[in-house]
Structures are given as C-alpha cells and as structure tokens.
Amino acid sequence: VLLNPSPPEGNVKVTWDFAKTASTPKITVSGVTGSNVIENIYQGEKVFLGSYLTPVKVVATECGGLNRLRTTSAELTIPAPEQSNLQLEAQNLTMNLAAESKAISGSAVVTVPLGTRFSLGLVQVESGVRRELPSEFFLGPLLSLESPLAYPTCYESNVLLEFDENAFAGKQIFQAVHLGSQDVVVFSDEAPRQVVSVEVVRPLRLGNDGNTVTFNNVTYNLDDLLVTWSHKHGMPPQIAKAHVQHESLPFLNVMTYRYEPLSTDYLEFSPRGREQRKEPVYQFTRMEYDSFPRGANLVDAEDVHPRSKFNLDKTTTPKTKISDSEQMVTAKTIYDNNDYWQNWSKFIPSKRAQAIATDPDLELGWPAQTTIAASYGLMQVLYSEAVKFGGGVINGQLRPFYLFDRPEHVGVAGAGSIPTGTAVWASKFRWANGITSGTDSCAPAFKTPEKMDKKIQRASYLYNGAVKYGKDIMQYQLNYLPIPTGPMLP
C-alpha cells in the first residue's frame, strides 16, 4: 500500500489481517515517525504519526514467501496531532524559486547559499486552505561560522541579515551574509514558538559563466575563492563576481594591469601631486626617481614587466616596447606613446588636460610609478589598497606581482586581488552606511531589500569611482546569482 503523495496533515491508520498459516508476519511502515515495524501480530490496527517528509509506504511480509495476507489498508485518521497543520514556508527570492513548505512542530532546518535573499513564514492549513500566520521573527545567537571573518566586515555577530526587523507579518525577508548557522525564532499569536535553524552554505556555483579560471594550464575554482572572501568580508559573492566581470580585461584575465598616469600617479604619487612615492611604505616597491634606485623588492621580470605592454616609441616599426630594465621612463613618454589606445586623456578634467598641454615636461616629466600607481588582477586592486588592507603578501613580502590572481598566488591566503578587493568593497560599504570608525561594529539595518541594494550599489560605485559603475555592477550581478545545492527545506 502506498500513500503518495503523503497526506498533508493528520496521521496514518493501518489495518491488516494475515492468514493463520502465515509465518512470522510483519508490517513495515516507512515515512512515519517513531516505531514503524509490527511483527507476529496476525491481525490489527495501528495509527502512525506521519512525518510528512516522504511518501508513506506500508509493506506486509512473511517468511514463508507465500501470499497469505488477506487484507491490508492504510488511511488518514482524524484528528491530526496538535499543530500538525502548521507549516514552515521558505522561498529563495534571489533565484525567484517556487516557495517550499514543510510541516513544522517546534523546529526545522533551512539551507540557503551565501548571498541569497529569502523569506520565511508560518502557514496554517485548514480544510485545504492555506493561511499565513502573522508572526514576529528574531535572530537567535550565532551558532557557527564556517571560518573566521576578516576586517573590514559587516554583520560580525550574525550570518543572517533580517529586513524590517520590527515587522509583525506573515513573511519575513532575510539575507545570508556569512557562511555558518544561526537560528531564527518565530513567535505567532496563533501557534507555539518555532525555531528555524538556518544553515548558510556555499552555493553550487555563481551563475553559469566564468566559474573557473585557467592560467598556464592550471585551473582553479574562482567561485569558491570568491565565496570564501565574500564570507569573510560580508560581501554578496555575486557582487564580487560582478566586479571581476567589470574589472578584468578580457573577462577572467588574471594578469589584467592598468596604470593611471594622469590621475592616480599624477595626483597621488608624482611631484605634481601628493608625492606619496616618498612614503616609507612604498620604498621597496617604487620605481626609480631622482637619486633613489628601483625598490629592492621589485623583480624586473615580474613586478616591472607589466609596463612592457606600453610603447616606448610608437613611431618605430615595429613599435618599441618598454624593456623591463629601462630606467627613468617618464609618465610623459608613456602618455605620448600610448594615450591613443589607453584613452587616459578622455577621462580627466579639461583644466588638467590644458595644464598638461601647456607644459607637458613640467606636468608629466617625472618617472612613472608604474608599480605602485597601478591596479592589478581580476578585481583591479590598487597597490596602495593592498598596502593599507594588508593583502598580497607572500613570504612576508608585498609585491605588485603577487596581486595577480595566478594559481600559485591565490593558493596563499591574502595573495591575489580578491582578498584585498573584497576588503576594499567592505570598507566602502561601511562608509556608504555612515560607519567610519574602525572600532565601530557594522550592522546597518534596512527596511527593505531595495534600500540595501542602494547601499550595495553605492559601495560598488565608490570601489571604482566611475559614476555609472555602481549601476553596471547591479546589472552584472544578475549573471552570477548563487545557485543552491538543493532545496531549502531538505
């Protein structure tokens, strides 16, 4: 006898009648809770407590192998046990999946991938009619973290963010912000207290594109790396991957490198700006200038080499590229011979452009800091950002080359661009929410997901500084939504 689908409510009454000649008669009922085997009772009737997790199946056997079962049946019994008509409803809103439901009697487990926005609610089913029970939801204590968080981060004490936390509603929306587990306690006037244990797990993958990176015939799981560091810094992993799409040229090129002679170098490192090349933190990785030699930690073939994509002289045939050993190459030389394809001048204010045109030797005649005034890797982090946030270190040294997301680098904690990139984003998210102090906890509350999205967009814009960048990120992230490994209610 098979009751399939399992009855949505109530218990199962099983009746049976074996012939007297049957040998060791046995009734086994699966899909119910509690003891489910009855042996050596030839005739009877028993009510089993439905678990409602799997179809209820009744099997009658005897050792003789002959079919001496005269009758057997299973049917729903009334009344249902207390609260058996109460269900937990959960829906993955990020992936816009159908709502799942499951009977709940005191507790339940929900599984969601990191970065997922989802809803929880209690539903009462009466005579086939479903009704949401207005409830209040509270985050319980943090139960576990998959791995330690890293500063800067947000929501340090939770793996879940609850929207509109004072609401009394049929459904409540949450976002999975860290890997780990945490209880959600649900109070309703019409049902006993329920405890929902939410497990925030790694997604199966982030979208269907660019899940792995291959460089020099070695492949690694990019999504896994992004999830790990997004977890640590409280960043939605799909947002991190959207930054990778925006920043890497072409997509997933781990050796992406960009030098900014007219903005970053001009304003921050050159003698026309802040002249940060003098700062002690840059002394081992800066390029030569004045009487100072090239930084002692620089390896020409690795750290200096990215500038070799630039022309030293565009008028020769073939064009002369900048060799790694070339000394005192000025920003003017790089600008004059490469702006036609790098388009630096198309981004700067007109007055700065005019100043450069007026006296190019004065404005750009200083040695280009192509190592420290540049951005690196899949997330295009500035070398200065790695300095400030402590990323990119291998064997005690921070070198620009280590910010490229090569397989041998991403295997070292903190190296590559992603640890620094996610940290930078987290710092921008803190700023976007008005949290400026490194000593302050960061747990901004939002009434709606849309309000959080505005802050995510703003943090993403601050990451790059281009006006449209934040909007682009919100669009790109739709390509990389966290795909669940299974149902929310297993």
Binding site: P250, T264, R274
Partner: protein, 332 residues
C-alpha cells in the same frame, strides 16, 4: 580670488596664498607642524582600531581669509588617514592656536587631500573646497563648505530624495568650477555618468578608436546647497593661449543629434579675455575673430550636432588669455 593648493608645501602656500603675520605663523615648523598638532586622534583610531590597517596620515593646509577681513587668519587643514577624511579650521586664540571648526558631517573618504578657496556664493567670503582621491581611477571627490562665522557647512548636493532616509549629502566628482551662464557666479560641472569612453583595452592589438562622451551635469547653488540643473552640458572645454605660434586643438565628442547652443565664456573673472580666435564645429567655422574683437564676456552661437562631432579651437590673442566653451541643448 582663486586659491589652490594640492600639495603640502609651505613654500607653495606662501606663493599662492600669502603668509599670515599673525601668531599662527609663529609656530615652529609653520603650518605643517601646526596641522600635525591638530591631526584628529580619531582618524588614527579609526584606521588602527580593531582593524590594524596601515594608516597613511596626510594633510594639506591653506590660509584663507574666511571672514573677509583682509587677513588670512584662518588655517584650513584637510586630513586623511588613507581611508577617511576630515577638514578642520584653526585660528589664533587667547592661549594659542585653537580648533574653531571640526565638522563631522558629511562623511568624507579618500586620500591625497587637496584644498581650494573659491568664491562660489557671490559674496565677499570664499567657500572652501576639499578634495580627496578615491577609487582606482584616482578621481577627486570634492566637498564644498561655506563658512558661517563659527561653523563649516556643506553645500554639496543631496544623495537622493528617499523620504524614509536621513538626507545625506554626496560627493562631487572631479568638479570644474566655471561660470556656465555668464552671470558672474560659478556653477559646478561634474562629469555625467556617460563621461569618457565605456571600453578599456588591456592590449594595444585589442583596441579600436573611440569617440568620447564629454557631457557634464551642471550644479547650481540654491538655498539648500548645490542642486543638479535640469539642463546639462554636452561639452565643456577650457582653452588657454600658450606662448609661441597659435596651436589648434581638436577634440572629438559624442552627442545626441540636434540643435544646441555653443556658449563661449571669455576670460575669467573679467580678466584674460581672448581678442582673436577661431572655433570650428565639424569643419564649419562657428566663431571667428570678428566675434571676439569686442572682447565680450559671453558669446553665444546656435549650432547643430551629429552623433559624433569634432570641435577645433585656436586662440590667437596674447598668451594667458583663455576661454571656456560650453555646448548645451537648445531650449526647444
């Protein structure tokens, strides 16, 4: 008076701003040392705090005549710890230099602080513009402050108009201060979201020629600070006559095809006006030396733009003369 200091240098400041004879200047080590004394401790705590981030303390100073008394008796200092920024106003007090303004709002972030003092409100007192570099493109995020006698108040535009949220002022990106309409008061031009080119190339062999968007938002000063004008600028260019033979400068620009007004703001603050020049748009002369001969402050021309365009400007007057060229959509 236009003042600008982008680097920390007492000499530069002295050249640009003059030095005060008051007690502020008597501190050993000058403005730099004074700024160091007043470095906000919470910037140090914020960077180090629980985070152990690497703090890179920086500051830029400028002496400004905030009260329009004829004496540059206020020292403005823009600070950064490498992450967050702050502006402070220091003045000589009864017992020595004292902090007289330390606004905590709006929140500023970025590094490499800079300061400008500009008269934006059209009164006798300068506004203070503080900038910080932010993001991998090295853009300047600027904050405009107005001195109220005892406090610095931000004039930046508001972030959005969400009625549920506390109104928050936003940064102004890469601002250009220019009198767009020729009324004697400066507006702010801020690159629009389409400004520049939308494609970058990692290798030269992947590149293709691109025509840039050169459009700007125009911010006008109202009663509640700067607000974005409904009419932006499709193009803005600043041109200055250099020494030697006149040179024609050509720039390409994208536009929505249609009718526009090309406005030439001749000179700055009544000075440095151009007497002879030629401006071509898509190969057609739209302004010639005849238009400049009268040295009018504002010259306007009706023009048409295509989807892609080129503008060529050649200044022929005395070195140092200058113009701003703005193209805006025609009213109808």
């Amino acid at each position: 008076m236009r003042l600008r200091a982008t680097i920390l240098s007492s000499l530069t400041l002295a050249l640009l701003c003059g030095t005060s004879t008051g007690a502020l200047g008597d501190v050993q080590g000058g403005d730099d040392a004074l700024a160091a004394v007043f470095y906000p401790n919470d910037l140090r705590v914020d960077a180090r705090g629980v985070s152990q981030l690497t703090e890179i303390p920086q500051w830029t100073t400028m002496r400004v005549d905030l009260d329009a008394t004829g004496s540059q008796n206020y020292l403005i200092v823009a600070y950064s710890n490498g992450f967050g920024g702050r502006v402070r106003v220091i003045r000589e007090g009864a017992s020595g230099p004292e902090l007289v303004a330390d606004p905590r709002e709006p929140i500023m972030f970025g590094s490499s602080p800079s300061i400008e003092a500009l008269n934006l409100a059209g009164d006798s007192r300068p506004e203070v513009v503080v900038g910080f570099a932010n993001g991998r493109k090295g853009r300047s995020f600027a904050w405009v402050f107005q001195w109220g006698g005892q406090t610095l108040s931000s004039l930046n535009p508001f972030l959005d108009n969400d009625p549920d949220e506390v109104r928050e002022r936003r940064e102004i990106i890469d601002p250009t201060f220019v009198d767009v309409d020729g009324d004697g008061r400066m507006e702010i031009l801020e690159p629009s979201e389409n400004f520049g080119v939308d494609v970058e190339f990692e290798r030269e062999e992947q590149s293709v020629p691109l025509v840039p968007d050169r459009s700007f938002n125009v911010l006008e000063l109202g009663s509640d600070g700067f607000q974005q004008s409904a009419v932006g600028a499709t193009y803005f260019g600043y041109f200055e006559r250099l020494k030697g033979k006149p040179i024609a400068t050509t720039e390409a620009l994208k536009a929505t095809a249609g009718h526009y007004v090309l406005r030439i703001i001749n000179g700055e603050e009544g000075e440095h006006r151009v007497e002879s020049a030629e401006i071509q748009l898509n190969g057609q002369i739209v302004a010639s030396s005849n238009d400049f001969r009268a040295r009018a402050a504002v010259i306007e021309k009706q023009v048409s733009l295509n989807a892609t365009n080129s503008i060529t400007v050649e200044l022929r007057g005395g070195p140092g003369s200058r113009i701003n060229v703005i193209i805006q959509k025609a009213a109808n």
